[in-house]
């Protein structure tokens, strides 16, 4: 009898609590469904149809769009560009962020200024950054263009040459992103108990060993988180392409997201664009799931 009463009370209590919880998430959930999950579902649906200027009415084609992508040289190039872009930006900006955080963490004079100057590239919108760097790379005028001309002893067009355009964009992205990741490392480092370092100092351990044996292992969760953010960013950030290269020359700097945009709004090829969107969504899901499944727990040292 009492047990039954208790169950009833528990049930209504749970409903009340859950109802309150659901009420709290409802507004954002509604908007998520409207503007995120519904479009995702719609893209998924559209990716099985042919829909372009030659076939304005959607025509069911099964997996044909995906098979066509495998034969699409531009898609392959864009995909590998994106992987090189990630390889170029992620490790370097992570390493740089770590070093900057080490520096900004030390109690030295002008620490606030150092933090600010490291972080400020992140506060500038991507479009503005792209315009600034476009000028830096402009042949004849730009600082970097002149530097490159001085080194190679001939006029260099960094953004107009397929061999250099990706490198030029990677350097810009590192400059932009490293300061942002530094903030996470800084937070991570400040959580490391100071007595660990004191103990190390007492045992006569040098600074570098302390960094290698204490700081790096204990900031591993930060590294994982930042790496996931950095990799997804390398697939998501394309604003600069509008301003700087439009994906050129000859797709040398084209990235997946920009190619999706081109396919939709320049080629009006919505079926193919939808199938590329699906591939991108799946890829980003896989990357971000690293954070949530397993890996996160394995690298904690507590």
């Amino acid at each position: 009898m009492e047990g039954l009463n208790g169950m009833n009370a528990g049930w209504s209590e749970r409903l009340r609590r859950n109802g309150f919880g659901w009420g709290l998430v409802l507004p954002s959930l509604l908007f998520l469904c409207l503007f995120t999950y519904y479009p995702m579902f719609k893209s998924f649906w559209l990716s099985f149809y042919e829909k372009n200027l030659a076939t304005p009415e959607p025509l069911f084609v099964g997996f044909d769009n995906y098979i066509n992508l495998l034969h699409d040289n531009v898609f392959m190039k864009v995909f590998s560009n994106n992987i090189w872009f990630a390889i170029g930006t992620v490790p370097t900006s992570l390493a740089l962020a770590f070093l900057m955080a080490l520096f900004a963490d030390k109690a030295i004079k002008g620490r606030g200024l150092a933090r600010l100057s490291f972080f400020y590239p992140n506060m500038i919108p991507m479009i503005a950054v792209a315009n600034i760097w476009l000028f830096l790379y402009t042949p004849h005028f730009g600082l970097f263009a002149r530097l490159a001309s001085w080194i190679t002893d001939q006029p260099v067009n960094l953004l107009g040459t397929p061999d250099t355009v990706m490198g030029a964009l990677v350097i810009m992205m590192i400059w932009k992103e490293a300061g942002y990741f530094m903030i996470f490392y800084l937070a991570g480092m400040q959580q490391i108990p100071k007595d660990l370092y004191e103990a190390a100092a007492v045992s006569g351990v040098g600074t570098f060993t302390a960094i290698r044996r204490i700081t790096i292992p204990l900031t591993m969760p930060t590294t994982l988180f930042v790496a996931v953010v950095a990799i997804t960013n390398s697939f998501k950030l394309v604003d600069h392409l509008w301003i700087m290269t439009k994906g050129g020359p000859n797709n040398a700097s084209n990235l997946l997201l920009y190619y999706i945009y081109e396919s939709t709004f320049n080629f009006y090829d919505q079926g193919m664009a939808a199938s590329m969107t699906v591939i991108m969504i799946v890829l980003l899901l896989l990357i971000s799931s690293l954070q949530f499944f397993g890996w996160d727990r394995k690298i904690h040292y507590e």
Binding site: L53, T245, P249, E262
Partner: protein, 456 residues
């Protein structure tokens, strides 16, 4: 407990309101539209136009601005002047960014079944708009309306408003490629500043001579729509005076011909062989800056930049036809006024009235003199405003005089893919990744693939 229920209810209602709000705005615009349609039918009859209570027909007008300068003010001003003359029509001008953004917005509108009523759009979008079933032919309006005087438009600009015997747009914001040159640099190397190069051979000789003292001889932009410059060189090298790189029905590409290969080779030679131009792909937007800053002695660019160069160059400059090989030639460029499907006949009639006004000689003269675009009508050059403008600034006449050698910009079905195919291969050739013949062969193959569904 009660408090919590209240909170839940509040949250619920807030979210409902928010969602409803999104729908509401749509509803109200729909209502507003219906409201305007009804009085319109009345307003169309002559008696009711006099009753002040009649609500005007409301039309939306999208336009892009692709060159420097405060052109939005000019266009908005023209729209208000139109409304003063036509109180029965209300125009809402919407500035939509550059040509690319403009097309995206129009395309989104067409798909959402809420297109603008009238819009300025690239002449090259004609076939895409036809394939999307988005625009109406203007032949009925032209036949009924004697004011329009189609023969007064320059034929070079009318060419790309037509397809298979029908007219789909009115020329509005039009340009050609011209050659700008720095007269002071000409003098410095002993060239006559009043005699710009007129042939390819002279161009090479001059450019080589001018290529010194920290500036280059010549710049031809190669990114963005590099096919435009390629079309110019191809026509200049063509034996047939009407040769273009695509068929006029927009279904065939003719990139890969021996004469076109020579034309592309000439472009490459300017930098690789003659060393008179920087190597690689030269950026469209930096070329005028280079010219204004004295980093290049000559440039090929759109006549739409005339006002920009005029206002900013600190030296005397000349404007000339781009030099000929077998003949002179330049593709036209820029945008036309299109009227859209899916609105009421009253709105379409109002849109026609507006398009007609915007392209009449007075307005064409005003727009040309404030932008540097070419006046689209012959009679525009007889207006006082234009006479005064060209007397002070005779360089503005060069683009107009060139119109007899001007021809249609690359415009095909599946235009995005076809133009990207040729643009990318030209860029690859300029960057030294592929030779001229190989580039055009590849571009041809890609274009044919993109056009295949339209040749069934």
């Amino acid at each position: 407990m009660q408090k919590q229920t209240k909170t839940i209810l509040t949250l619920l209602s807030v979210s409902m309101l928010a969602v409803a709000g999104c729908g509401q705005s749509n509803n109200s615009t729909a209502e507003a539209k219906e409201n305007t349609v009804q009085p319109t039918t009345i307003a169309a009859t002559p008696e009711s136009t006099e009753t002040p209570a009649a609500k005007p027909v409301e039309i939306t007008f999208y336009y892009p601005v692709n060159v420097g300068g405060p052109l939005t003010k000019v266009i908005d001003g023209m729209a208000s002047a139109f409304m003063e003359q036509h109180p029965e029509i209300k125009v809402n001008p919407v500035y939509t960014g550059n040509y690319g953004d403009n097309t995206v917005k129009i395309q989104a509108g067409v798909q959402a079944k809420q297109p603008p009523d009238v819009a300025v759009m690239m002449s090259t979008e004609l076939y895409s708009m036809l394939d999307m079933n988005a625009i109406i032919p203007l032949d009925d309006f032209i036949a009924k309306d004697t004011d329009i005087q189609m023969a007064d438009f320059y034929p070079a600009f009318v060419e790309d408003t037509q397809s298979e015997g029908k007219t789909y747009s009115l020329p509005f914001q039009r340009s050609t490629i011209v050659m700008y040159y720095n007269k002071e640099m000409f003098k410095a190397v002993g060239l006559d500043p009043e005699k710009p190069p007129t042939t390819w051979d002279e161009l090479v000789t001059y450019a080589k001579k001018l290529n010194k003292d920290g500036h280059v001889g010549l710049e031809i932009p190669g990114n963005d729509d590099s096919y435009w410059m390629f079309q110019m060189l191809a026509r200049q090298n063509a034996t047939d005076p009407k040769q273009n790189i695509m068929s006029s029905d927009g279904k065939k590409a003719m990139f890969d011909t021996p004469e076109n290969v020579e034309a592309l080779q000439f472009w490459l030679d300017l930098s690789h062989k003659y060393k008179a131009m920087p190597e690689g792909v030269i950026d469209w937007a930096t070329v005028p800056t280079d010219f204004i800053q004295g980093k290049t002695a000559m440039m090929m660019h759109t006549s739409g930049n005339l006002t920009n160069v005029k206002n900013n160059a600190k030296f005397e400059f000349g404007v000339a036809f781009p030099p000929a090989q077998k003949q002179f030639g330049s593709p036209t460029g820029g945008g036309n006024l299109y009227i859209f499907k899916g609105t009421s006949p009253e709105k379409q009639a109002a849109a026609w009235e507006f398009a007609k006004y915007m392209t009449a000689s007075e307005q064409a003269a005003l727009f040309s003199s404030s932008s540097g675009y070419v006046g689209v009508r012959k009679s525009a050059y007889d207006t006082d405003a234009m006479k005064k403008y060209t007397a002070d600034f005779p360089q503005a006449l060069v683009a107009r005089d060139q119109l007899e050698y001007a021809f249609r910009e690359l415009s095909t079905h599946n235009h995005g893919k076809v133009s990207t195919a040729i643009t990318n291969q030209i860029q690859a050739a300029l960057a030294g990744e592929i030779d001229a013949a190989g580039a055009l062969k590849k571009a041809q193959a890609e274009a044919e693939q993109a056009l295949a569904p339209f040749n069934k």
